[in-house]
Structure formats: structure tokens, C-alpha cells
Symmetry: C2
Subunit: 321 residues, 2 copies
DNA sequence: AGGCCGTAGTTAATCGATTACACATGGATG
DNA sequence: CATCCATGTGTAATCGATTAACTACGGCCT
């Protein structure tokens, strides 16, 4: 910057003013400065700028698993929304581990992100408290924590799950296996709560860990226990369950019905196409980014609750109803 | 930091030394400083540190599309490898657009990443030159550019493609449709070059843009033109092609054979399971991160060329051979 | 006792920007 | 013609760390 100033025969203050579009500099000065910038190929140092202004124009996003397309879509949406407001997004991959999540959150805070979006790995509120105590704007995404004091953006699958459960019972299923998320995640608990409320003893619940492998294992157990329908609360575990069903040579929906939370582009391609509860991932991501930006701008955004939709495709024997 | 120093009754220099594990401070001083840090909940400002040390301990990764699981896996691997060396990764999503790619690259450079990993959207070398001119360590990933002067990490699918092509010809296919990537990407061109070399006039090539939609359209055209086999050069376009095949009610492999570049966890679940050319994504990501770190440490890493493997599953009529 | 040295710690410059304040210039005003 | 104000620019402090150069303090040797 000093070089640019010298080249243009002005002070660094003037260069800075030109860069930041202040009213002061004369059109001619501005021209000269811009020419010098161009000629020297100068690019301002964002670190120095941020240090001085205490604003990085960056949002932190800590998600549970980048390989889960559900989160990848969210990340993408967050990024789009942020970019359209001149913000950049730094993504941290917690890998469904509370420790790694904490590490990432701290790293991002150390780098002074202007705000943080978090998909908490567990419903333990301590990390959230820590961030709030630091005064950094925080929005929770997809999952919440106990006694959360910050805005939360998530999808509500109660209606869809209820409709699905009724349908399965109506089709005569009397042993419905539920492959749920970990009991210490809000999504893991809430979704199963809805189901048990509707299904009562008909439901048999096994908790997985939102990973493919746990889906296969849970499916194996449930099938061994005589389940005639499987409801899987996450697409990765759904993938595992599907693998197990195929490995056993079972026919969907004849031998076993299947429904999965989260839609994926390849679900319609299976035979039969898979019935899903689709979450509005893009809208969730965008809404979360908007809420966070609002918070950064001193507003107090409300919680956002979007609805997940039941998409019937055939894997629950819809055709036969 | 000043507060911590005061609290511990030392100077900021001493605090800094404690933080950075310098030899100087006495165990007692160290204790006192650590206590003060603990008590005040002090966390060092990474921006200030980076400004002073001109090192951010951060790698930039600009990829073509986060929603493409191929790149998501790579991103994940890069991140793992980087983290194990104490580096953080900032991901930028170019969305297969050269402009957005350039924007991201510049943003990352402005933030002074220590090095950059790039999956170039086109084979135009100008952006690469710009980065190199800035003296920032750069490694290309998956794709290269014309006259690249930096290390490149990619997968070689020639053998696998050749074997696949021979097999298809051997099975009697005389019109083989190839859905390729854009001709101005190295992967788009090289893969088709291999195929045309082996197949000659038997191959009919349509270029897509690495997105699902273009896969459907290309498949439609090729099928209309009488193709009895499709080779798709990317998993997203493969998804599109599959959709088109299903929409037309064609049976795989009876009516049409199909093979796709990039393996995906759900390919084995289709009926029949899809034959693929699997790229070693994790190894690619790790290797790229390692090369970049080597470059940052002043070494001159070689190009890395990993081999993609043909995985026969049935969608090319393997059972019938 | 005096000189020397190693060690622990302090002072102050520095990284590259932003910005409050001071200053100079020139035109309008009484 | 002196005064005042508006306007454009420069000076220098500042953000929060790191680190070279310096100082103070003991202990050791002769």
C-alpha cells in the first residue's frame, strides 16, 4: 500500500479512501491511485484490514458431515446466500464428533468470523454458551441444544412422519422398525418421539449414528426381529439399510416397506423408487444465513421452522393401497 | 493480551513466549501466565498473529462443485490431511464457473492462505499464472491447465477406459455413446481422447457440463441416435443419463449398457448394479494436500498420477459375456 | 572484590491496513 | 481585505500479536 501511495504521489490515507469509496478524494487523485494499483497489481491485505476494522466479512459454518449430501446442500445454500451479501463462508467438518466440533468452533472464533452457524453434534449446550459468552452472533441449524438462547433454523417433520406412520399402520404393518439418530441429538430424539406417539408399541426403535454402517446394522437387527417396515431417519443410514435389504434378497415393498428421511436425487431411480420425507435443505441454508446476517446487524431474528414434506413413491407399497 | 500480561505481572512479550512454547520463561512465570489466560478466558487473535508472522496456517481449496460427491470426498480428504499437519482449509465453491473460480481464488489470496489447491474449471492457464506470479504455492487437483508449471495431482483412467471400451466392443456394441465433460477441461478432453483412440468411429461423443441436466439431454440425443451403450464421464451426468434411461423404460443392460466415471455408494444398489470407473478420491485429496504442504515447506513435489479402477458390476452385461 | 557470562524478562519496532485529527488551500462573505 | 468555511490530503495512532535488541540480576571464577 505504501508503494501504491508513493507511485501515485499521495499518502496511504488517500489510497485507503479510494479503496473504500470515501467521498473525499478528487476524481483525478482517484484516477491516479487506481492507475498505480493497476500497475503494481496491488491487492489489499484482508488480514490487516480485518484486524483494524474488527470485521472479517466471513461466516463460520460448522457442519456434522460434509459427505452427507444433506449437509452439503445446506452448506451450498449458506454459501450462496452469504456471498450475495458480500460475505465469505468458512466450512468446518465436525465429522459427528463433539470434540472436533469444539475444536473447529474455537478455530473459527480465533479467526474472528463475524458470526457462526452451527449444526450441533449433541444437545449439550456448553459449547453454545461458550460462543455466546464471547459475544459472537450464533445461529443453530438443523439441530438445537437444550435451553438454546440463540435463533434456531430447522425443518419440522412431525406432520410428514405422522402421515407416514398412519399410512404404514393402515397398510397393516404391526412391527415397524425405526432407525433413529443418536438420542443425544435433537433431531434424533424429536423424530422418534413423534413416531412413538403415533405408533405406540408398534414401533421398535434402534439408534444409529447418522452413518451408513450403523444403518446396515440397525436394519439387520430390526429385520431379524420381524419388522415388516423400516423408517430411517437419515439418508446415510437409509443407504445402509437399503444395502442390508438387498443383501438379504428382500423385495421392497413386498417383503419390507421402506421410507427414508432426506430426499436424494437417486432415490427415484431405485426399483421401486423410495418414499421419503424431503427436507427443504436449500431454504434451510438460506434462512440460516439470513438469520445470522440479521443477528450480525443487530436485529433479533425469530426461530425458523420449515416443514418437511412426505413424498410417496412406492417403497411403502403405496400402489397397493 | 495486554490484560493477561498485567494480570500475570509480566510483559506481553513473555505472554507471547509462553503461548508459543519458547524456551525462555521460567516454569513459575509460565504457570502464572497460563493461570491468567485461563482466568480471563483469553484466546489469541489469529488475525494479528498471521499479520505479524505472514503465515495463516490455512490452505485454500477451490473446487468445481461441492454438491458433486466426487469433490466432496476430495474436500474431506484434503481437510483431514491438512488438519493432521496443523492446517485449516477454507473451501470455495466455483460452481463450474471460471468467473466465480477467479473471484474465490482472489478472495483466498487476499486472506493470505499459505497455499492453494485448485480444481480448474477450464484449461485456461491465466488464473494459474496470476497465482504463481503472486508467489503463492499452488497445486492443481483432478484437472490441469495448458502448460501448467505447478504440481498436478490427478487420476489416470486410460487403462480402465481402454479395458471398458474393449469389453463393450467385444460384447458387440457398434454404436457407443460417450457423454463427456466440457472440451475445455483437461478431464473432459483426455478421457474422450482415450476412448476415440480405442473405439474409432464406433464412439459418438456429446459434451456435457458435469451437471445432471446435461447428462439427461446428452443421453436422450445419443439414444435417439441409436446408441446401445453409454459411457458417462462423471457421476452427476451419469445420474442424469440414468434418469433418461428409466424415463424411456429401457432395460439395463438388455436395451442399453451403461458405465459411469466415479463410484458412488448407491451405484451397487441399482438393478443391475452400475459398472464404474472408480477414482481414488481420498488418496487424491490427501496427495494434493501433501504436495501443497511440501511446496509450502520449500520442497519441489512431483506430479502425482493415481490410477482409476474399472469395477464391473453388471450394467454393461458382464454376466452375459 | 571485580569482571564476565548466562538467563529471564522488558522495551519498542513491526506487520498492513483504517481513521480521527490537523493542516493547507481557495472561494465566499461581511 | 480580513475572516470563515468547505474541501481535499497528510500525519500519526491504532488494531493485537511477534521478536530483535537491550537490561537487570545472580552466580562463578580468579
Amino acid at each position: 500500500m505504501k508503494d501504491v501511495a508513493q507511485h501515485a504521489g499521495v499518502s496511504t490515507a488517500t489510497v485507503s479512501r479510494v479503496l473504500n469509496g470515501h467521498a473525499a478524494p478528487t476524481p483525478e487523485t482517484r484516477e491516479r491511485v487506481l492507475a498505480a494499483i493497476e500497475e503494481l497489481g496491488y491487492r489489499p491485505n484482508a488480514l490487516a484490514r480485518s484486524l483494524r476494522t474488527t470485521s472479517t466479512q466471513t461466516l463460520g459454518l460448522v457442519i456434522s458431515d460434509l459427505l452427507n449430501p444433506f449437509f452439503a446442500e445446506i452448506a451450498r445454500a449458506v454459501e450462496d446466500e452469504a456471498r450475495s451479501h458480500g460475505y465469505c463462508v468458512v466450512i468446518g467438518n465436525a465429522d459427528e464428533s463433539a470434540e472436533q466440533e469444539a475444536t473447529y468452533v474455537r478455530t473459527l472464533l480465533d479467526r474472528r468470523v463475524d458470526g457462526l452457524l452451527l449444526c450441533p453434534a449433541t444437545d449439550d449446550p456448553s459449547l453454545v454458551r461458550e460462543v455466546s459468552a464471547g459475544g459472537v452472533p450464533l445461529v443453530l441449524l438443523d439441530r438445537t441444544v437444550r435451553g438454546a438462547t440463540c435463533p434456531v433454523v430447522r425443518a419440522d417433520g412431525s406432520e410428514a412422519l405422522t402421515a407416514l406412520a398412519r399410512r404404514l399402520v393402515g397398510a397393516g404393518h404391526s412391527r415397524i422398525g425405526v432407525i433413529a439418530g443418536p438420542p443425544n441429538t435433537s433431531t434424533g430424539r424429536e423424530r422418534t418421539d413423534v413416531l412413538t406417539a403415533v405408533l405406540g408399541g408398534v414401533a421398535q426403535i434402534v439408534h444409529g449414528d447418522f452413518r451408513q454402517e450403523s444403518g446396515s446394522q440397525a436394519a439387520a437387527r430390526l429385520i431379524d426381529d420381524g419388522a415388516t417396515a423400516l423408517v430411517v431417519m437419515d439418508n446415510l443410514m437409509g443407504l445402509g439399510a437399503l444395502g442390508e435389504i438387498r443383501a438379504r434378497g428382500l423385495q421392497i415393498p413386498h417383503d419390507i416397506a421402506l421410507a427414508v428421511f432426506d430426499d436424494q436425487p437417486w432415490f427415484p431411480l431405485l426399483d421401486p423408487p423410495i418414499t421419503v420425507i424431503a427436507q427443504p435443505t436449500v431454504e434451510m441454508g438460506r434462512a440460516a444465513a439470513r438469520s445470522l446476517l440479521a443477528l450480525i446487524n443487530g436485529q433479533q431474528p425469530d426461530d425458523v421452522r420449515l416443514t418437511a414434506k412426505l413424498v410417496l413413491r412406492g417403497s411403502c407399497g403405496e400402489a397397493e393401497l
